[in-house]
């Protein structure tokens, strides 16, 4: 495990909102190609952690190092996205007025500047990539539908497809199976494992069955800091974790 390179390193990150410490000297290391599940009770700081990594929230202290030496706390959201960090939100946010196809087209890695998009024409290569992603996310038959007309689960997949289209090195996925049927949950776990073959993934999730199904290293957050880390069996046996989840 130690032979692999570190992809993401959170070093003593603290975020305060009006005196409330959302993150308290949080440190976390993610390796290249790893999939990590992050769990924790409400208010443990999971979403704030995602906000800090993606540049939405600036920490009061601490560093977030991506790759070799890029400090993410100095960059804004588009710059971080351009580095190859994709984020999927808790609530599926796809561009509802656009078709499924156009959603993927907008997400495809490429030039994001207005002077390019103003004159851009869809290339044959872009077409093949979109078709490939549509196949992966099982939406090939819905390419011309408005994204707003999709079912909840289909929107989740479309959003994952958009993340794939971004070709990120690191995917941050916030509660991907919330509100999904059991079958959809299973398919999503499979999809994430498939994605993990080529990319690193951080999954924030409440659903313990889903986390268990993923079968990856788990980090438990509590009050803005790491409480426990290890396999799912290890952390669920940890008395501190048990107390946090059941103790009150």
């Amino acid at each position: 495990m130690t032979t692999r390179d570190t992809l993401l390193y959170l070093d003593g990150v603290t975020v305060t909102f009006d005196g409330f410490r959302a993150l308290n000297a949080l440190s976390l290391v993610l390796e290249q190609g790893e999939m990590r599940a992050v769990i924790g009770p409400n208010g443990a700081g999971k979403t704030t952690m995602m906000d800090v990594i993606t540049g939405r929230t600036r920490p009061d202290t601490g560093r977030v190092v991506f790759g070799r030496d890029t400090d993410l706390t100095r960059l804004d959201e588009p710059a971080i996205a351009a580095l190859g960090i994709g984020r999927k939100f808790q609530k599926p946010t796809v561009f509802e007025p656009h078709t499924v196809w156009d959603n993927l087209l907008l997400a495809l890695a490429g030039d994001r500047r207005p002077r390019f998009t103003l004159w851009a024409r869809q290339s044959a290569e872009e077409r093949t990539r979109i078709e490939a992603i549509l196949a992966t996310i099982r939406l090939a038959d819905h390419a011309r539908r408005r994204a707003g007309d999709l079912s909840h689960g289909q929107k989740q997949w479309l959003e994952i497809g958009m993340l794939l289209a971004q070709e990120p090195q690191l995917l941050l996925v916030d509660e991907p199976v919330a509100g999904m049927t059991d079958a959809e949950t299973e398919q999503t776990a499979e999809l994430l494992r498939e994605i993990n073959r080529s990319r690193s993934v951080v999954v924030v999730e409440h659903d313990m069955a889903f986390v268990r199904a993923l079968g990856v290293r788990v980090t438990v957050l509590h009050e803005g800091a790491v409480l426990s880390e290890g396999s799912i069996d290890h952390v669920s046996a940890d008395p501190r974790v048990v107390e946090v989840y059941l103790g009150r």
Binding site: R56, E77, F89, P97, L106, R113, P114, T117
Partner: protein
């Protein structure tokens, strides 16, 4: 905004203007078919308003920027044109001063202020028509979008902007004719303005430029740029996490829209014969927004339709029932927002939400 609707609109605008101009020139005044000169100018005025409306729709309908100060860009374009027309008067003014416009002579000014230099050259004036609104929009938009001012906050400061300009242009010391503005124009590009043929020409020019504006706007909104823009409108932070810079997109479209509004204003001034600070009134900008809402937000063609219809109504009401006009306009605001969120063009659609008018909850920053 389907291609067909745009085509129909272009044909109506260009054809209508051509027919009006032709009937004005070719038929005798007594003929039942004759279009009087004032009607030609009135139609030209409506089309100028339509240019403003398309500009407003471009930012509001597609980028979600509700500008309550767009009439300021319209008026600035108008003033740039007005300054050129003032310089064209030459010695034919009341005081016969070859350099100074009448109001400056009246105020005992001895020389032309520096910012009036160059306005005797038509090319310079045209450049200013584009540059002045464009640069103001660039500076204002750069500051606003960079610090992620959006939603109603942006609306409020755009309104404050036009209000500040209104106060400024009312001052005599500004050198723009104060309260009375610029008027008594004689000719444009050395062609006398009072001739019927000039009015017909101006109407045609307006129609052509409106058509061009529509085509440019349509290209912008149907390109990949436009798709990003709509994405920004509905979910700005999501686009940011996709790696787009919403501020660049908004800034581009805001500047483009301001320039379009400026061109509309520049064509408006020779056709109505006056430009005064009243054009900066915040009420004017909000009225332009309601034209767009009436026609159908986010459709471009609807903006043209709305501008022409509402202004026809205004002409009718203010001539026959002046007291009722504000009631009618106020009711229009309320009814359109409550009952007709898709505007008139939304009526014909099976699914009125196809042109999405939903306001995604705007992040506070």
């Amino acid at each position: 905004m389907s291609g067909r609707a745009t085509m129909v609109c272009l044909v109506l605008v260009l054809g209508g203007a051509a027919v009006m101009a032709a009937l004005n020139l070719a038929t005798p005044a007594a003929s039942a078919l004759h279009v009087p000169a004032y009607a030609v100018s009135l139609a030209g005025k409506y089309l100028c308003y339509a240019m403003l409306a398309v500009a407003v729709d471009l930012v509001w309908g597609f980028a979600g920027i509700l500008s309550l100060g767009h009439a300021a860009f319209f008026a600035l374009g108008g003033y740039a044109m007005g300054m050129y027309l003032m310089r064209q008067i030459g010695t034919r003014g009341v005081y016969g001063n070859a350099v100074l416009p009448d109001f400056m002579v009246f105020l005992n000014w001895k020389s032309l202020p520096w910012y009036w230099y160059g306005f005797d050259h038509p090319a310079f004036a045209v450049a200013m028509v584009l540059l002045v609104p464009g640069v103001l929009a660039l500076v204002f938009g750069w500051l606003a979008f960079r610090s992620r001012v959006g939603g109603v906050y942006l609306s409020i400061i755009t309104q404050a902007l036009t209000y500040a300009l209104l106060l400024a242009f009312f001052r005599n010391d500004m050198g723009f004719g104060g309260n009375n503005g610029l008027t008594d124009f004689k000719d444009m590009f050395s062609i006398p303005l009072h001739l019927d043929s000039t009015r017909d020409g101006l109407l045609l020019a307006t129609a052509v430029l409106l058509a061009a504006e529509l085509l440019v706007a349509r290209h912008v909104v149907t390109s990949r740029f436009g798709k990003v823009l709509i994405a920004v409108r509905d979910s700005e932070s999501r686009t940011r996490f996709l790696g787009y810079r919403p501020e660049s997109y908004k800034l581009f479209v805001f500047v483009l829209s301001a320039v379009m509004a400026g061109v509309g204003g520049a064509l408006y001034v020779p056709q109505v014969g006056i430009i005064n600070p009243g054009e900066f009134a915040p009420a004017n900008s909000i009225e332009a927004v309601i034209w767009v809402a009436v026609g159908g937000r986010g459709t471009l063609v609807g903006a043209v339709l709305g501008a022409v219809l509402v202004n026809l109504g205004k002409t009718f009401f203010t001539a026959t029932l002046p007291d009722l006009w504000l009631f009618a306009l106020g009711a229009l605001f309320i009814l359109v927002t409550l009952l007709l969120p898709g505007g008139l063009l939304g009526l014909g659609r099976r699914r009125p939400r196809a042109a999405p008018v939903t306001q995604a909850p705007e992040p506070a920053e």
